[in-house]
Symmetry: C2
Subunit: 328 residues, 2 copies
């Protein structure tokens, strides 16, 4: 007689386990064969109800966010996905319909990003809903893109737009104030959507391996994450605030309330990639990004010494009250 | 300025990250190079406060249990450990001393089992303490020991002793009744200790690869887990209850209260390995087990057809109210 967990896995998750190494989720472990000459890149990240998402968020979006935050790290490291394992802690009251929607979301993204479900563990918890994912990727040996590879006099680039998710979260947390912003319905929806569902830049992985000297994904805000990259590389970094790529909604918000530049620079959940590139390789990386439909913007340069500054249009470093976002 | 999570990682977990691929826990992901010609075995398992351990259990034991339940699966699959990643959800009130003890326990086992910390994610949770670990192992290509490899007319063997952890849990849950058992203090401590801290049989991994046709670790009770193995392999299984290896404490308990054979056969948390072995290989596997100090007991045989029976000394199948343990 199968246990509750067995039944749940069979009904909701076995259909996702199409990778032969998942062994139909009927063995103790999964098995994957890494491509010859590759090394394995491993990332684990968990999201917890009330910390990283709202309990009322759609189940499929929660699943996709859990996978995407891990995929984003693989992308930043230049790694191609191999697959993932899932740990799901379900409070007692969660219903089958919710689990089905969760599994559907996971399945959809697993296909889009070519990252198959390999295995997992499902438990009922008396606590909060949480989803922990470990993603495996691969790179040709020795080519993982590190945080520590930046050199002075390189160009700092960033994908997509910055600050949208942090502003989206602001709409969720302080709707009274946020709703006063002069935004169209679609601009507002864009910001909220960017918090709900990151857009990991896995299509850029191989180009980062080829052209970037260092990279990381921005999960705790551009200012703090760039500071980590610069410190790991032993370089300084200067970014011009005016060059930061902002969505239309973010631009309108800054125009209406300039001090929200801090939210844009230090809020979390961007899941864009910040990278450093030797000057000779910038146009090649930009071309590669264009080919896969990802916007890439030059926002600053590295230098000798240390310290990371985001400069105002007058060349003054911006000072933030809280330089980096932390869920902790 | 480092965030709370950065400080915690730096203080408590960086000292564990001696594997070069962990990148001192200062990058987005870890990297490991699998041995040439190998494939990667992946297992993830989480333990949650109040479900898989008691909140008052020592922090170092909680950490070690979280790692060991995963190591146990690697062992059963014949895999050698490559390393692990950790997701830790810490309630707000958890103090530094607890975290230090947790990290110390993890470090100790990581060394004993040769399974280095590669990376992780630490979050404060408004919910319960939980620890999710993903362990990576490797096997020579095509040699992972499956659940589905058993053939009829093979010998069923099991490592160590069965039922100790389930009885240990009984002591924790129903101390008034359990304390009436005629056990010495050391027998009682043994049972309780076996619940607190499994003893994964990783030393047997290579011999299982060589000699076992199928194997799995017993986490949900011998009866249910053997039934899963037999079903996956398309064989029947018959076990003689009298041959089950029991510790002195378990033997005394059965003598005093025979119906507790059900707890022994269907309780969870054994983390012993059950395996099937062709008759010609049994003595070789036993010799190999002896060399690494692991007891291996023949408890039954496989046959054609289906169904798993644990037979009484009169040859009658035992009937259990709840055939398999589930934390779910």
């Amino acid at each position: 007689m199968p246990s509750g967990e067995d039944r749940l896995i069979q009904r909701f998750f076995r259909p996702l386990a199409r990778h032969p190494g998942a062994l139909r989720l009927q063995d103790d472990a999964a098995v994957v064969v890494p491509p010859i000459g590759s090394e394995i890149v491993i990332k684990t990240d968990a999201i917890i109800e009330g910390v990283h998402f709202f309990a009322e968020d759609p189940a499929d979006a929660i699943a996709r966010k859990a996978l995407r935050v891990n995929l984003s790290d693989l992308a930043a490291k230049g790694a191609e996905p191999l697959g993932f394992v899932l740990t799901l802690a379900l409070p007692g009251g969660v219903e089958d319909q919710w689990i089905q929607s969760f599994a559907d979301g996971l399945d959809a993204d697993s296909k889009v990003y070519g990252c198959p479900l390999l295995g997992g563990d499902t438990d009922r918890t008396p606590g909060l809903l949480s989803v922990s994912i470990t993603a495996l990727g691969h790179v040709p040996k020795g080519t993982m893109v590190l945080r520590s590879g930046a050199r002075p006099d390189e160009v700092i680039v960033v994908t997509g737009t910055i600050g949208d998710a942090a502003l989206g979260l602001w709409f969720r947390r302080e709707p009274e104030r946020a709703e006063k912003m002069p935004l169209s319905a679609s601009e507002r929806a864009h910001l909220i959507g960017r918090y709900l569902l990151p857009e990991p830049r896995n299509a850029l992985a191989s180009a980062l391996r080829e052209f970037a000297s260092a990279a990381m994904d921005i999960s705790d805000g551009l200012a703090g994450d760039l500071a980590k990259l610069a410190a790991a590389s032993g370089v300084s970094a200067k970014v011009e605030a005016v060059r930061l790529p902002l969505s239309k909604g973010a631009q309108r918000i800054i125009a209406a309330e300039p001090r929200l530049i801090e939210t844009i620079c230090t809020g979390g959940d961007d899941y864009e990639i910040i990278a450093t590139v030797p000057k000779s390789a910038v146009s090649k990386l930009k071309d590669a990004a264009k080919r896969v439909g990802i916007t890439l913007t030059e926002i600053g340069v590295t230098g000798t010494g240390e310290g990371t500054d985001i400069l105002s249009s007058k060349g003054q470093p911006l000072r933030f009250e809280r330089p980096s976002y932390s869920h902790f």
